[in-house]
């Protein structure tokens, strides 16, 4: 089948100066990995060069992470070869990978919470039996100085912010003398400022001669930071090219395998009427920190109200207050159904809200924590919404199963069947199941928090379509998002939160990114010049 000597079929296409088969420092050839019956990687090729930042691009479930996990020793390939500097290597464990100078920073940090940064960094390293933490801390500080990191080696991990934890992960890999750094979606959890700092550090490391691989599905990051981009689709290598020779459209098409329209539809709202009125809501959380200050706004039917803000500025608390999960200290949240009298929601539990006939749908940020039960299958997760219905003591299993099957079919959920635990689905498919269930209850208010976080382009657009469809049906949609381009493209109005305060509501059709970005970071004082007005 394969031409002898060449090491297999040369797949995919190349554009510009193609680097395949050149003197790449790491070559992956014909790597195949199966999980049960699922083919995660199918005869995959990849080249990684020193002194270069490579972006590994692909949709969810395209096998990017699996491929890199095989390079870092977490998984072992079923077939294929790995060459480092033209010598074939066998990587059976993370330790083997370290010995070869390969280090991976996982999306879910692999850190022990109760240990300090320094303890985490030296974990598993060989050396004298007796620990000398002072020497370790000193070496960590030196590495931090070299590349411009800012962490305290003696701080416990559970006291750290997400970005600090990520820094610890990177330092950990550098401490082990890694020459090849693999970062799995490193920016997913970072604020724009933190992302900028990270990219600066990555460039420093590249200039130091290290090979950097960054797994991502955010095109603008590929364009911003990478030198070369390699694209995977459905577990196979599609092609690679220098980043400067390509553009977003081409990369998307290669990722998805067919042309994708990158425009978001925004139909004009039809007959918007106030549906949910939030007035002067203040909220203090369990730890006694005030999260919301005097928040007021109205969500209209047939309209998408976007909520923008730096993460942790009260978005979560606001949605949870509306859903009845957190109780505000003061203010009012009034639901105004069509042709019926208004109802006050504050003080009601989610179940009482439901019993009042108010259909509120909530797609929370934490899908598998608050939205779905990971170890239960799709049918049972559907039942979470319907288990109280019926008059007999027995559960109605049929209608949830039908609903599950319907969602799988309509939203193209990739799953072996409705009896598969949702934990085993990929992020995008989990989200489709959750959104599908929430809109199946025919809500009058739909709240989504970071609905497309961690989703690839294709899945994201499916979600936008679903949200738009709800809007057309007259649902009041509240969309909490982080990507300003999407917020501006999708929402009719955008409310900007800053430190728990409403810093203005702008029209999505006329708003610009700079203006919203400024509003997110700077609280307007008494003088509101051009703050809450249109830009």
């Amino acid at each position: 089948m394969f031409p002898a000597g060449a090491g297999g079929i040369r797949p995919g296409r190349c554009k510009g100066e193609c680097s395949l088969d050149t003197n790449a420092s790491i070559k992956l050839r014909n790597i195949t990995k199966r999980f049960g019956t699922t083919l995660a990687n199918d005869r995959c090729w990849l080249d990684i060069n020193r002194g270069e930042i490579l972006a590994l691009l692909g949709e969810n479930g395209s096998g990017k992470t699996t491929l890199m996990n095989m390079l870092s020793g977490i998984y072992y390939p079923d077939e294929g070869q790995i060459f480092i500097d033209d010598k074939e290597v066998v990587i059976r464990s993370p330790k083997d990978a370290f010995d070869l100078g390969i280090g991976m920073i996982h999306q879910h940090f692999k850190l022990v919470d109760v240990l300090t940064a320094a303890e985490n960094i030296i974990l598993g390293l060989p050396g004298k039996g007796r620990l000398d933490m002072k020497a370790v801390s000193d070496k960590v500080r030196r590495i931090c100085q070299t590349y411009g990191f800012d962490i305290d080696p003696d701080q416990k991990i559970y006291d750290m912010s997400v970005s600090q934890k990520q820094t610890v992960e990177i330092v950990k890999v550098l401490y082990r003398g890694a020459e090849v750094l693999i970062l799995d979606e490193p920016t997913a959890v970072l604020t724009p400022q933190e992302t900028k700092t990270l990219f600066k550090v990555l460039r420093n490391m590249r200039d130091d001669g290290k090979a950097i691989v960054i797994i991502t599905h955010k095109l603008h990051e590929v364009e911003e930071v990478s030198d070369r981009v390699a694209i995977l689709r459905k577990g196979s290598f599609v092609g690679d090219m220098p980043t400067k020779d390509t553009n977003a459209r081409e990369m998307t098409n290669m990722m998805v395998g067919r042309p994708v329209a990158l425009n978001i539809e925004r139909p004009d709202p039809v007959d918007p009427k106030p549906r949910l009125e939030v007035r002067n809501v203040n909220l203090t959380d369990e730890e006694g920190i005030q999260r919301l200050f005097d928040v007021s706004f109205t969500a209209n039917s047939g309209e998408i109200l976007g909520i923008a803000g730096i993460s942790g500025c009260g978005q979560k608390e606001l949605l949870e207050a509306i859903a009845g999960l957190q109780r505000p200290d003061s203010g009012s949240i009034t639901f105004m159904p069509e042709g019926q009298e208004a109802r006050e929601l504050i003080g009601l539990t989610p179940r009482q809200i439901q019993q009042q006939g108010v259909v509120l749908s909530f797609v929370p940020e934490d899908r598998l924590g608050m939205g779905l039960v990971g170890s239960m299958d799709i049918t049972n997760n559907m039942m979470l919404r319907s288990y109280r219905s019926g008059s007999t003591g027995f559960l109605d299993m049929k209608s949830p199963r039908d609903l599950g099957e319907d969602i799988v079919k309509r939203l193209e959920v990739v799953t072996p069947g409705v009896t598969t635990p949702v934990r085993q689905l990929s992020g995008g498919n989990v989200q489709k199941v959750l959104v599908g269930r929430e809109i199946a209850s025919a809500p009058s208010v739909l709240m989504t928090a970071y609905a497309v976080r961690g989703l690839d382009i294709n899945s994201s657009y499916t979600i936008y379509d679903l949200i738009n469809q709800q809007k057309k049906e007259g649902v009041a949609v509240i969309y909490v998002g982080e990507d300003l381009d999407i917020l501006i493209g999708l929402c009719d109005r955008i409310l900007v939160l800053c430190s728990g305060r409403v810093n203005g509501i702008v029209d999505g059709r006329t708003a610009d990114k700079e203006q919203i970005g400024l509003m997110m970071t700077r609280l307007e004082g008494g003088e509101q010049e051009g703050g809450s007005a249109n830009g």
């Binding site: 993370p94 850190l111 022990v112 919470d113 109760v114 974990l123 598993g124 007796r130």
Partner: protein, 329 residues
């Protein structure tokens, strides 16, 4: 005063049994294995230690003290470690449920010891390893004669001091050495430890076997000193085994705390016998068992106290009780 001294003596004997057992269990639990087979392992260790010593002293005309100590400790440790090996194969390699496996190990250990104990008993209800008992109970010469002070601190067999040394060494190992750090990481977050290049399976096996071996020494001390060197059809090893599991929680998984915790549990456990006499009243029989629950009640109170403090360092290992499988998604 003599009653108080007797109470303290009793508490220290008692505490030494559970100090060994709990120190061993801490090592095991730090690797993420919640071994509820402690009573069974103590039975195994106690029986093997006794049987080894008993056969040795009956087979030899002039048994030597050093030899009998060596045989008893080796047999007890090996039998305990073997129990740990069974547990490790089932939970780490075959990924069986840890709670069920642990409880099964308790039943197995008790059954095994009593079944083969019949051979040692040879038809009677109890046999005594008199020489072994005398060796294990020999106090420190000279110091033990120093009146009350000597009585309280120096009137015990060598294993009382060995238990303290073992606990301190384990504490030092856990918090000041590289393998100790790795072990803690395995129990907290095996996936992280694995990604850091630590052989999770090997650590779990080693920690469980060594831990169970030390727990087995608790059984040896129970039979050869605390139980006056007698193997009988009736003993209270099981009750002490459960108390050792509680002591691990009480000590917030820190071997250092085991030392005073064990003696405190000893004082509380024997409260019913000494406090009434000390206070000058007598306790009705039915109330004694109620008084014996005091250590458990204290453990519950400590648990409540710890959970309100929300201090991460005082919680058990995060992955305690969970099997680890690298490729699980």
């Amino acid at each position: 005063m003599s009653i108080l001294t007797a109470w303290i003596n009793r508490a220290i004997w008692f505490g030494t049994v559970i100090m060994f057992a709990s120190t061993g269990e801490i090592i095991t639990e730090k690797s993420g294995n919640l071994n509820l087979g402690v009573p069974g392992v103590m039975f195994l260790g106690g029986f093997a230690g006794f049987a080894g010593a008993y056969y040795y002293e009956n087979a030899t005309a002039n048994p030597s003290a050093a030899m009998i100590i060596l045989i008893a400790l080796l047999c007890g440790f090996a039998a305990g470690a073997l129990g740990g090996l069974i547990y490790s194969v089932l939970t780490t390699t075959l990924r069986a449920n840890q709670n069920v496996t642990g409880l099964a190990l308790t039943i197995f250990g008790i059954g095994f010891a009593n079944f083969f104990g019949v051979r040692v008993l040879g038809g009677g209800t109890s046999v005594k390893a008199a020489f072994a008992r005398s060796v294990f109970a020999t106090p420190i010469p000279g110091l033990s004669a120093l009146g009350h002070v000597g009585n309280i601190f120096f009137s015990y067999g060598f294993m009382v001091y060995l238990a303290i040394i073992v606990a301190l060494v384990v504490h030092w190992f856990m918090y000041s050495t590289r393998p100790g750090l790795n072990l803690r990481a395995v129990g907290e977050n095996p996936a992280t430890a694995d990604a850091a290049g630590i052989n999770v399976t090997r650590y779990k096996y080693a920690a469980t076997c060594v831990g169970c071996g030390i727990t087995g020494l608790g059984g040896v001390y129970y039979v050869l000193d605390y139980g006056y060197g007698t193997w009988s059809t009736a003993n209270s090893i099981e009750a002490l085994g459960w108390l050792a599991v509680a002591l691990v929680i009480f000590a917030t998984w820190k071997p250092r705390n085991i030392i005073w915790g064990a003696y405190l549990f000893g004082l509380l456990y024997w409260l019913y016998n000494y406090l009434p006499t000390l206070m000058g009243f007598s306790l009705p029989i039915y109330a004694t068992q109620m008084f014996q629950t005091v250590p458990y009640v204290v453990t519950i109170l400590v648990l409540i106290f710890i959970s309100t403090k929300k201090k991460r360092e005082n919680q058990g290992p995060a992955a305690l009780g969970l099997s680890y499988f690298r490729e699980e998604r």
